[in-house]
Symmetry: C2
Subunit: 506 residues, 2 copies
């Protein structure tokens, strides 16, 4: 590399670090809005986010950045994996962002900040009508984003690409068609199974403070570092990070559901440990976070489901849970609690869905979002479409909008085209879980002994430390030895639910 | 005004709004660091603040801003008060900031963010040695700021001017000399007074949760809007604002001092109500906050001292306090509690000092800061200088650094030359309080009836709504009919303490 190119690379990395900082600052403003901000702060926060995101846009799309990228790309053949990835991600972000007018970026920041406040109110009152206008405004702006960014087949692709680079709506359509068919078949077997599962042990009266302590204790077991994070309460659980040293999670508690806060905490803890495990060589750069939403979700789902809903986990966790909840768990044995944690049952709330029906929730959102973007449905008619789809796919109909179309925060945040990454996460998680099983033959015995360290160490080594160095499919291949594929998810679900419900796995 | 000038003014106001937003964002990062952030977040937050303040600097000092200012100043004779003030403040900030290298601004942001974390640790361990290097770094950077900004007489002036425009160290020297002489005389009278005051009623065991609720209730009485703010706990109480709709305060609680959290809450509440009362015409601009630190402090001291430590206040507050603390206050009457709230006694902690000795605490800091900047003392020798000055001025010697040189957060934040504004605040507060007394002859009867609204309304009308439209001395004159002067503070202190201690006022 010539000296000029070395200097260009250094300057590019300086911009990359600054963009990382600005992105983290925006996340802090949003975290604060969800957890701490008083109600009258809304319009002020909206302006702050608009200003900040306007500046982020302006700095990323500065002509100087284009010149630097060109210089490095033309001459920089000998880059390390990390430097090459920084250049690749700067290029991707630059190409995407130069197509967006600054005013659209600011307007979207303002609109989503306000929509978040409206959504929270609408959800509390279970009234979609309150939220309809704000959502229409966000969707219209996202449509404009798609048009500016451009796409080959349909606007959905332009939005999806931001969350899972290279993925298309058409590919997802096939994936969901297969998942749906398999899910329907599996649900049928479960319905006809010799043993049925009783979830009532989870649905007793559980003291909220004790639940809170239990969740924090489990987070410590699995390796979440409270010196580099904190847990708070919010309407919708989430994880956010302001650098590797400050990765925060939130949860919500239900007085008659032990599972909600517990599995929610393990889920967000999984996301958080990914960010806490980003390696020093990629920190504070555009590749200094989880590589894609799909891979991110694989980490949360792995801890929530593969670990938290395993029989081995409850061998370890039940005695401790019984100390906190002696009367509620007096009569419960490991099998009862483990099966209860895995009861399959159509339900309204995605984040509380069992692993089998979960992907149907995502398939539904994928179809609804596509229809919105294609203008095949008007915003105001969304509750009707939602409820009809729920009835058709899951055989149940929400009683109100809070347990229907209003349940998720995503659209209010402008996250349209994001949901499918949840099913991709399940797919990756199953493949990773199988690989861990091969590398750690005593994996389940260790879990049963409360020794979660080797699993986290495996994930740190194969996934976390790399941040965005490798593209998702490449990272999964490096970690597991195979390109991502759905076979592991199918096998995992069949084997698990055969064991839970007592039917033959093959 | 020509069309070009109108457009230049509009653009300047756009920049002013954006600078306001960026300033508020920086405040949020700092608030979060003090109240919420986990320990390993420190280096990340430091980088975020450095990046953000670097951008703030860059945008304020853009050549375009200089051009716009010139254009408007050359032609803009017919500006409204508000527009003229925006131009005046942009000019002041621009002239100051163009003299500072961007790297110095970023370095100071980084250094203070780190010093804050170190100070908190050092204070907890009562060990100045832990903090000495961080402080030396901050002081050195502030010295560089003073050199870049420039000054006529001494470096102190360059720093002071940022907090109280136009004020000089020489003027303060005179003010403090007078205040010291009067204070010494008053202390002598108090020492010889026929009645001595017993503070023990405040020093019983007060439940922390009940104290917290009492503080919040008092804040509601006086008009702090919890819909536009929140209260949290922190090592050092402070007020910060992210726009008129989001003004937050913190407090700290002492299990054996009813006064600490109560008067601290009224103090920070006074600051907060100023920011909550900024009028729509100046909001979201460079004049959209309190005009100076001195005027800001007048608002906090007025509510803390003129209201909270008045006999009328305790006529109203004592019955309610007795409901929360029945055993502790069973034997206390209004006079006992009121006098206890006003006991004069040399003490170590500034924020807990009585109104008479308070200004000696400030005089001490003013002298120490001047010596630091003049290099008449080395950072490592500060504890010695501090303790000797305390002994000389107040006749008491701190037992450790936590109750001495480490007690205040200011230097860690880079606030050098800031403390004198506290005494200016006392001076303004007494003058304002006298004016309110003239305009509301039944002021004290209203306080005794819990009717604080007219006082807040007066302050909203005469002070708060204007934000930074008028310079401090002009604002005080508009509000009270007189230029700021120390006569009211002298008269107020003599009259009050004569009543408390039972000697003749004149």
């Amino acid at each position: 590399m010539t000296l000029t190119t070395t200097r260009a690379l250094d300057e590019l990395k300086q911009v990359s670090a600054e963009l990382f900082d600005l992105g983290r600052i925006a996340e802090l403003l949003e975290w604060d809005q969800e957890t701490m901000m008083p109600p009258k702060g809304v319009p002020w926060r909206a302006e702050q986010l608009a200003t900040l995101k306007g500046i982020l846009h302006e700095r990323l799309t500065a002509p100087r950045v284009g010149d630097l990228l060109k210089q490095v790309e033309d001459e920089g053949g000998q880059l390390s994996d990390v430097d090459a990835a920084i250049v690749r991600e700067m290029r991707r972000a630059y190409d995407r962002e130069v197509k967006l007018p600054a005013e659209l970026v600011r307007e979207l920041a303002r609109a989503t900040s306000e929509a978040l406040a409206t959504w929270r109110r609408a959800r509390a009152e279970a009234s979609f009508a309150l939220f309809a206008d704000d959502l229409a405004r966000v969707v219209e702006l996202k449509r404009q984003v798609a048009e500016h960014v451009g796409y080959r087949a349909e606007p959905y692709d332009a939005l999806l690409d931001e969350y899972e680079p290279g993925m298309t709506a058409a590919e997802l359509e096939t994936m969901f068609a297969n998942l749906r068919a398999e899910t329907v078949a599996l649900l049928d077997e479960i319905r006809r199974a010799p043993r049925q599962v009783d979830r009532s042990v989870f649905e007793r009266e559980y003291d909220l403070d004790a639940q809170w302590r239990f969740g924090q204790e489990v987070l410590r077991w699995i390796g979440y570092d409270f010196e580099a994070g904190r847990q708070d309460k919010s309407t919708h659980p989430f994880c956010t990070h302001f650098g590797t040293g400050d990765v925060r999670i939130t949860t919500r508690l239900h007085p008659r559901d032990l599972g909600q806060a517990l599995f929610g905490s393990m889920h967000e803890g999984g996301h958080a440990m990914y960010e806490q495990g980003i390696g020093p060589s990629v920190q504070r750069s555009v590749i200094g976070s989880g590589v894609s939403l799909g891979v991110h979700e694989s980490q949360s789902r792995l801890w929530e489901n593969c670990v938290g809903r395993s029989r081995a986990f409850w061998e370890y966790a039940l005695p401790r849970a019984r100390e906190l909840f002696p009367s509620q768990l007096a009569d419960a044995d490991v099998d009862t609690v483990w099966r209860a944690a895995n009861k399959v049952e159509p339900s309204f709330i995605r984040v509380e869905a069992d692993e089998v029906t979960y992907n149907l929730h995502i398939a539904l959102r994928f179809e609804v979002e596509r229809k919105i973007l294609r203008r095949e449905v008007e915003t105001k008619d969304l509750p009707t479409l939602w409820n009809e789809s729920m009835t058709q796919m899951l055989g149940i109909t929400p009683a109100n909008d809070a347990e229907g179309v209003l349940q998720d925060i995503h659209w209010a945040s402008g996250l349209v085209g994001y949901f499918p990454t949840y099913s991709l996460g399940n797919l990756y998680a199953a493949q990773i879980w199988a690989a861990i099983g091969r590398d750690l033959p005593d994996r389940d015995a260790r879990i049963a002994a409360g020794d979660f360290g080797p699993i986290l160490a495996w994930l740190r080594d194969r996934i976390h430390q790399h941040g965005g160095t490798y593209l998702p499919a490449d990272l999964i291949e490096r970690a597991t030895g195979e390109r991502p594929n759905a076979r592991y998810l199918s096998a995992y679900l069949r084997a698990k639910y055969a064991a839970v419900y007592g039917f033959a796995a093959s």
